[in-house]
């Protein structure tokens, strides 16, 4: 580690440690929910990052189609890759929490359904990439798929909650009334959201660097032959 360049990594580490501590000690528990509220501080940012990654991937896909430059594909691919990891983390952590509170790991709650669809889309994206041999075609087709999926998602956001309410009239989800977040909870929540976003951007940069370096190395090897 080089202190001159890496100071912000250390800062980020300290910041996130602070968030964890605050989540357990500083933030109050929501009345009805007990200790498990604290999952919110980590689970929601994961889902947020997964969505953000998906957005970034689609944006770079459009850029790739317009500019036809390899680095845009590297960004789109990396973002989807990290997005998939966060989607899995959000799904698993959500399921554990659901087991605790609903007594079932999975029950097609609208939010679970949404993240499951996101998971499906990511999985399809990588399945497509691995099935196309030529690099340019691969990048192009993946970009197109990403854009089509991106167009679909808003529809799902609109339909899923409606359909699942009407198909499964579940009083647990349907009841009216809202809880406003406590000020302290809000502070910790947004701090965590910020920390996760920075961490995501850092990972994204690393991943892109790796991809581009690998490319460069491979083309060096090919030309030497």
């Amino acid at each position: 580690m080089n202190l001159k360049n890496d100071w912000w990594k250390i800062l980020l580490g300290l910041f996130l440690t602070g968030v964890i501590v605050a989540a357990f000690l500083y933030a109050p528990r929501a009345k009805a929910l007990g200790e498990t509220t604290r999952i919110l501080f980590f689970h929601v940012p994961c889902a947020w990052v997964a969505t953000l990654a998906f957005l970034i991937s689609a944006t770079y896909s459009i850029l790739y189609l317009r500019k036809n430059e390899v680095r845009y594909d590297a960004w789109a691919y990396s973002s989807a890759h990290i997005g998939l990891i966060f989607t899995i983390l959000a799904t698993v952590s959500g399921a554990i929490w659901a087991k605790e509170i609903w007594n079932a790991y999975w029950n097609w709650d609208p939010r679970q359904t949404s993240i499951f669809i996101l998971l499906l889309i990511y999985a399809a994206y990588f399945a497509l990439r691995s099935a196309v041999e030529d690099e340019q075609s691969r990048a192009r087709l993946a970009a197109v798929y990403s854009i089509i999926a991106f167009v679909t998602v808003p529809f799902l956001m609109f339909i899923v909650p409606r359909i699942y309410e009407s198909l499964h009239p579940d009083p647990l989800i349907n009841a009216q009334g809202k809880i406003k977040m406590d000020v302290k909870m809000r502070q910790v929540f947004f701090a965590s959201l910020f920390g996760f976003t920075v961490m995501f951007l850092w990972m994204l940069r690393l991943k892109v660097q790796i991809l581009l370096m690998e490319r460069k190395l491979e083309s060096q090897i090919v030309t030497e032959r």
């Binding site: 889309i121 497509l128 099935a131 089509i148 609109f158």
Partner: protein, 223 residues
């Protein structure tokens, strides 16, 4: 614009001639649909199913039948190495539109056979036809649109068969959700307005998929 429609009809006509001669796609999807239907009907026996199950079942059959045959339209060009020929003589959007039209007709053709058989075998009937027909037509249009663009994407990939369903499923979900819901309403005899929002979703989603496809198809088709 007119030129585009003319040319897409040229593509459609050629594909129709080809299909008429080989009957590959029609055979594949009709046999698939009938087999599935027979299996389902056989396994439930005399039990009368609830509309909550009947509606999804119909769309599951239609979806997987579409998955078994609608990719053929692009895969055939790739397999017989005629894709380059097509690429040389026609603009991409005319090709997409022509193939889309073919898939729409193919799916409608399948439904004319399969839907009456379905209702006969399941011993049930539609209470409100003014919901049923719009949902069936709009749902098929949507399904054909999604299938056509995804078929174009997978036509140069390896392991196409499995990939087609994997890629199409998340994209087709809004269609399935809405079409299943409105079909269920039509079976329960609900008033037309109840299905209004579902039909709206089906229509707008189909339009958006067609528009997006026309915007991006050029990149799929390019080598």
């Amino acid at each position: 614009m007119w030129n585009l429609v003319d040319k897409s009809i040229v593509v459609f006509r050629k594909d129709f001639q080809l299909e008429f001669r080989t009957r590959y796609a029609l055979n594949a999807i009709a046999m698939f649909a009938l087999t599935t239907l027979a299996v389902i009907s056989f396994s439930i026996g005399p039990i009368q199913l609830d509309t909550n199950i009947l509606a999804p079942l119909l769309w599951v059959i239609l979806f997987f039948s579409a998955m078994s045959g609608l990719s053929h339209i692009f895969v055939r060009e790739e397999e017989q190495q005629t894709a380059d020929t097509l690429r040389l003589v026609l603009p991409p959007n005319a090709i997409w539109l022509g193939k889309w039209l073919f898939n729409v007709i193919l799916l409608f053709g399948l439904e004319i056979i399969i839907v009456p058989v379905y209702f006969a075998m399941m011993n049930t009937q539609v209470e409100n036809l003014s919901i049923f027909f719009p949902s069936l037509i709009l749902g098929s249009l949507g399904l054909a649109s999604v299938s056509t663009i995804i078929a174009a994407i997978i036509s140069i990939a390896s392991s196409r068969g499995a990939l087609f369903a994997v890629l199409a499923f998340p994209i087709a979900l809004p269609i399935l959700f809405s079409a299943i819901n409105s079909t269920r309403l039509s079976m329960e005899g609900a008033p037309f307005m109840d299905s209004w929002s579902d039909l709206q979703v089906l229509l707008s989603f189909t339009i958006i998929i067609i528009t997006t496809s026309l915007l991006v198809f050029e990149f799929v088709w390019k080598r």
